[in-house]
């Protein structure tokens, strides 16, 4: 398939741009990884190899707490937005009324709203109703922000599942709810995996919303990183950055490989990119 799509002559221009792009893309990341191994607290000169910043990281409870807080926020927000976003996608796909279209438009608004606006709005809301800023408020804001991503991806997949599949389930003895549970949701699994990974990664790294809505709990990692880089970064941050990169690389590889292991044709990466129907 891939072979058939390849064009005969490679356009040199595009290939060169791509090569330069990859170099540009990875240069700062390699720098982060390199300086996380520096034996000195410098980000401009590499003086020698050392694991001291990883050691620092392991012994820096505040950073570890932040890392765990971010993992927790990302996990809960992913589950929450998957549930709500999938419900929304199913509802919107099937309720084809005027009301449904209005709801559909409103729920997509977070996608076209700059994050700083969403962040300010969330801060004002939580403060206004007297909700103490905490990990809970971060999670609430992140779920609100992520629902739209899940909805878009799941709707994309649903559009490819003919209405007849649902009818077939009803025809074969399923109540509407059973049809949903036994047929539609299993069919959506690749989309759910893809959306889940995307949301997890976005929330884990989200700074702006977390910045406006975080409170007393251990700070989400990006907020902590921000607090420290305004006044100069500790190379322990580089160590964290390197670990995050490795973690997200593993996640993406999982997104690529897992669906293949389950024997499904489409990988969730295709769903993220919207390609390969």
């Amino acid at each position: 398939m891939a072979r058939a799509r390849r064009l005969e002559r490679k356009p040199m221009f595009a290939v060169v741009v791509t090569a330069v792009f990859f170099a540009w893309l990875y240069l700062p990341i390699l720098a982060v990884a390199l300086f996380s191994l520096n034996d000195k607290k410098s980000l401009s000169t590499f003086s020698g190899f050392s694991l001291r910043w990883y050691d620092d990281l392991v012994h820096n409870d505040a950073l570890i707490d932040s890392l765990l807080a971010s993992l927790k926020i990302a996990t809960v927000a992913t589950v929450g937005s998957l549930v709500l976003g999938t419900m929304l996608a199913l509802g919107l796909e099937r309720v084809r009324s005027r009301r449904g279209r209005v709801i559909g438009a409103v729920t997509l608004l977070p996608l076209v709203t700059p994050e700083i606006v969403t962040g300010v709005a969330a801060l004002l809301l939580f403060t206004g109703v007297g909700l103490k800023l905490s990990m809970t408020t971060v999670i609430l804001a992140e779920i609100t922000f992520s629902i739209a991503y899940v909805t878009v991806i799941v709707r994309g997949r649903l559009a490819g599942v003919s209405l007849e599949v649902e009818e077939a389930a009803r025809d074969l003895g399923c109540t509407p709810f059973q049809a949903l549970r036994l047929v539609i949701l299993p069919t959506l699994v690749p989309a759910l995996v893809g959306a889940g990974l995307l949301v997890f990664a976005l929330v884990f790294d989200d700074f702006v919303l977390a910045f406006f809505t975080t409170g007393v709990d251990p700070q989400p990692l990006p907020v902590r990183v921000y607090s420290s880089i305004r006044f100069g970064v500790s190379p322990a941050i580089n160590a964290i950055g390197t670990l995050m990169l490795i973690g997200s690389a593993l996640l993406i590889v999982a997104a690529l490989v897992l669906p293949r292991l389950f024997g499904r044709g489409t990988s969730s990466l295709d769903l993220i990119t919207g390609g390969q129907k």
Partner: protein, 295 residues
């Protein structure tokens, strides 16, 4: 036999038979979005007419003072600057994203998925840390300048604290949102179209503009939106990489919620930003939808 048993059950009311479940599914997320999004936006609008009390707290009021404060040359100039940076970010992103997406989608072969993964991975590693890494790399005595001096190409370039550093940071932060939709639409593109185009238009450049570009317009439009919006609201790039005169709207908003201690003014800024965006979006949607109708 179970089927027969169920026969006795009272039939469901006719028309509601198939839609109640979907309606019910819609209810919870809709309520959520109303409570946490629509309602919060309403508070922003309300507070934009508010004031700050003597003890420094934001409070509702009915004053237009915040909006009047915005109507000032400095803020207007800043608005145009932000718009300019965001547009430049979009333009550069397109110039990067098209060749990259093209090369990967049409010449990636069996490495296609691996290449896309390689593009996506860095964007899931901390945005802040990557931005900060640029700061270290591009500083006057940083690695890039050391490299330039070492190779004798130049005796140092001032990268940091310039508008280009801010735009570069924005491009670096958001270009993936341009690559993915363009990649997706190139993926769906029928390659024979391009080949036919080459016969018809003689030469890859004309083919690109006559065949490939129009066929992938949807992806391009999506990417433009996905890059423009976050670029316009960003405040990290200008803060970490910017100079003395590269303040953007995002910085202004953030300033009011931190040092400025003026939430009502910050709210008014946010509303103004959304209003401007809405105007731009409507204009953009009009333009793209009429263009899309052309053959």
């Amino acid at each position: 036999m179970a089927v027969l048993d169920r026969r006795g059950a009272k039939p469901a009311p006719r028309s509601a038979q198939r839609t109640w479940l979907w309606g019910a599914l819609l209810a919870l997320p809709t309520a959520w979005m109303v409570a946490f999004f629509v309602f919060s936006m309403a508070i922003v609008v309300l507070l934009s007419f508010g004031r700050t009390t003597n003890d420094g707290f934001p409070a509702f009021a009915t004053s237009t003072a915040n909006y009047r404060a915005l109507w000032n040359d400095v803020y207007l100039e800043l608005f145009w600057r932000s718009l300019l940076y965001a547009l430049a970010t979009v333009a550069i992103s397109v110039l990067i994203a098209y060749p990259v997406a093209y090369a990967v989608a049409l010449h990636g072969g069996r490495y296609k998925n691996a290449l896309i993964a390689a593009i996506v991975v860095p964007f899931f590693a901390s945005y802040l840390i990557r931005m900060y890494a640029w700061k270290a790399l591009l500083s006057d005595d940083g690695l890039v300048n050391s490299g330039l001096r070492g190779s004798g190409l130049s005796d140092g370039v001032t990268f940091l604290n310039t508008p280009w550093a801010v735009i570069g940071g924005l491009v670096y932060g958001f270009v993936v949102f341009m690559i993915l939709p363009i990649y997706a639409s190139l993926e769906r593109l029928d390659v024979s179209l391009i080949e036919a185009g080459k016969d018809l238009y003689h030469g890859p450049v004309r083919t690109f503009f006559s065949v490939t570009l129009p066929a992938t317009r949807a992806g391009l439009y999506g990417g433009v939106l996905l890059v423009f919006l976050p670029a316009l609201g960003d405040f990290v790039s200008a803060q970490l990489l910017g100079g003395a005169s590269t303040f953007m709207m995002g910085n202004l908003v953030q300033q009011q919620f931190t040092e400025g201690q003026n939430w009502p003014l910050g709210s008014a800024l946010t509303v103004a930003m959304m209003a401007a965006l809405t105007v731009l979006m409507v204009a953009y949607l009009r333009a793209t939808s009429t263009q899309a109708q052309e053959p």
